[in-house]
């Protein structure tokens, strides 16, 4: 009955492929991904192609300062009184904010995974110490500490680092949340039978942890991470808005802070970057929601 020639080899559908198939069906998740793609393109354009540099005061000399939006198509979203173009600043700001969002989250995930994995896998004393250390961060007034650190470090220690410093600080304060989730997931996964099975067949602790447990918790970490990116962007805006950020790098928070001083006369300065923040954060939240639907086995039909 079999036809001659090679039978087509059926590729198995990996969890990843199944997850993507499920994700594609989720309209809000795709919308989130679209929004993020849009801002990523803006960021790339701003970094490599935009002829107008960030924080450019060119309009001061050409007399196009403090233009309202939609009045001059060279400056579609208006300009600040200092001559800075709002639209171009949003473009450059998306590079800055995505850098902060992704960079800080990456650091937090790496530290959080390592500490959470150990705290979850070692049930004894060392696990309790790690857990306690993690929980310490939940009672600290983190935002105040972040502001304090960025002020001190930006003023005295690492002036040139700019946004990278903010990335480091947010990353170093952001990991406990990830660690907490990682620990919880590990406590769940380590009781699953395939973990016991691989131990029964002679796998070492190290192998079980990194080959079987960590890959199985990545799906939940990916969901949390996409929400963390949104959170980090908001925190960056807060830092800059309160004047604790780096005043030489374009970020949305910085323009909003500048615009807030002119809120009663030039509303557009703060308004449009504010829209950008809301959209971008919404995008990451929608993505996180879509991912959690696609990757969470408990929601599977």
């Amino acid at each position: 009955m079999r036809s001659g020639g090679k039978k087509p080899v059926r590729r198995g559908a990996s969890q990843r492929a199944v997850g993507w198939r499920r994700f594609k069906r989720n309209k809000t998740g795709l919308a989130g991904l679209g929004i993020i793609a849009f801002f990523t393109l803006l960021a790339v354009y701003g970094l490599f192609l935009d002829p107008v540099p960030g924080r450019s005061y060119a309009c001061l000399s050409t007399g196009c300062s403090n233009l309202p939006p939609f009045a001059d198509w060279n400056h579609p979203l208006g300009t600040e009184t200092s001559g800075i173009d709002v639209w171009h600043e949003i473009i450059h700001g998306s590079a800055g904010d995505l850098y902060v969002g992704f960079g800080a989250t990456l650091i937090a995930v790496v530290i959080g995974l390592a500490i959470g994995a150990l705290a979850g896998y070692r049930t004894g004393f060392s696990g309790a110490v790690l857990l306690g250390f993690t929980q310490l961060f939940f009672v600290l007034p983190v935002l105040v500490l972040i502001l304090l650190f960025s002020k001190i470090l930006l003023t005295f220690v690492a002036r040139g680092l700019g946004l990278t410093l903010i990335v480091l600080i947010l990353g170093l304060f952001g990991w406990p949340f990830i660690a907490f989730i990682a620990r919880g997931e590990i406590l769940r996964i380590r009781e699953l039978e395939f973990v016991q099975a691989s131990r029964a067949l002679g796998a070492s602790n190290f192998r079980i942890l990194f080959r079987h447990i960590v890959p199985n918790l990545l799906s939940s970490i990916i969901v949390v991470a996409s929400l963390a990116v949104a959170g980090n962007i908001v925190t960056e805006v807060v830092i800059s808005y309160l004047g604790f950020g780096d005043a030489n790098t374009s970020t949305w928070g910085l323009i909003i802070q500048e615009g807030a001083n002119y809120a009663n006369t030039s509303w557009w300065i703060a308004f449009f970057p504010g829209i950008a923040v809301v959209l971008c954060v919404l995008g990451f939240n929608l993505l996180g929601d879509g991912l959690s639907d696609a990757l969470n086995p408990r929601l599977r039909e």
Binding site: V9, V18, E191, Q196, A197, R199, L201, G202, A203, R211
Partner: protein
């Protein structure tokens, strides 16, 4: 004289919980011979699985092996270091766990999970290893083995998954296979196939087999020797034929009465009560609160496991006087 592969003597494994010390396995002894599949029988909570995990020394926290002696191939397993034990697990003793749905890692293909075990115990080239993996799939009679190599567990049926789990347990060619309720989560028809497979493998590969089950039907089908556990203790040891025709322990008799028989029309008799709390087990004989033949002695004095015949041991004060056969 059959060759003894595993000897467990007075094994005690306790769980140190907040509520107290749970004596899950409390003085279990038995031997496993090559060519004599052993059925380890008992209700849920009788200590079957913990006994198996103790042999592999992977009793989960907060439990641990407290005392006893486990001799495997003339070596004391309890005296081995963790590193030495890792070479016993998988390589010398294979383990198939209960639920085939969760005993395979959902993220990896069949091929990579089998290769992992093959490679963990032997340094082989990739070609030799993948050949071995393919052979394993043929050994457990997976149809179209080449096509299944790249499949993920969720793409396979329950019976197929259990075959893969068995293949994985056999990957490093162990001398002893422990199958912990390998068919509990399978359909009846699939159950029969998997049991048939285990039987064939036991004969073909000449390995010893411990089959853990609560199903007396499976015992009749698969085992030659039976160890009945109750509340962490051995109630009775027997050849499979005799245990069905003439059980010596009231608990064994009760277990048999609770199994439907197609050849005899009779009421099913459930065992009254449930397995006791193992933090404070009953005094004397642990079965006495549920036993229909209980006398005063049973409450105060704990019976010991007595040798009552060729390959038969029973732990009951009244085994001489009681006749518990099916016909009675």
């Amino acid at each position: 004289m059959p060759q003894t592969i595993l000897e467990v003597e007075d094994l005690k494994s306790y769980f140190y919980t907040e509520a107290g010390v749970v004596k899950a396995v409390d003085g279990v002894s038995f031997t496993v011979n090559k060519g004599e599949p052993l059925g380890l029988v008992g209700e849920s909570g009788s200590g079957k699985t913990v006994t198996a995990l103790s042999v592999l020394r992977i009793v989960p926290h907060p439990g641990r092996v407290v005392s006893g002696k486990i001799t495997f191939h003339d070596e004391d397993l309890l005296a081995k270091t963790e590193k030495e034990m890792r070479r016993v697990r998988g390589k010398q003793i294979g383990y198939v766990s209960q639920d085939p749905n969760s005993s395979l890692d959902p993220l990896f293909t069949v091929e990579s999970q089998l290769t992992e075990v093959v490679m963990a115990h032997e340094k082989l080239s990739n070609e030799v290893a993948s050949e071995r993996v393919l052979k394993l799939l043929q050994l457990v009679k997976i149809p179209e083995p080449e096509a299944r190599l790249k499949a993920y567990p969720h793409e396979l049926s329950g019976g197929m998954r259990q075959r893969i789990a068995i293949a994985r347990a056999l990957a490093a060619e162990p001398d002893l296979l422990i199958a912990d309720e390998p068919t509990t989560n399978l359909d009846v028809t699939i159950q029969a196939q998997v049991l048939e497979l285990l039987k064939d493998l036991e004969r073909e590969l000449e390995m010893a087999l411990i089959l853990i089950t609560h199903d007396m039907g499976i015992v009749a089908e698969m085992a030659q020797k039976v160890v009945v556990l109750y509340a962490g203790r051995v109630a009775e040891v027997s050849h499979v034929k005799e245990i069905f025709s003439a059980p010596k322990h009231p608990y064994t008799a009760a277990l048999l009465q609770a199994v439907p028989r197609i050849d005899k029309k009779r009421e099913l008799v459930p065992i009254p009560g449930s397995i006791p709390n193992l933090i404070t087990p009953p005094s004397g004989c642990r079965y006495h609160p549920r036993c229909g033949y209980m006398i005063d002695k049973c409450v105060s004095i704990e019976p010991t496991l007595e040798r009552v015949g060729e390959g038969r041991e029973v732990s009951c004060h009244r085994w001489r006087e009681l006749s518990l056969g099916e016909s009675s």
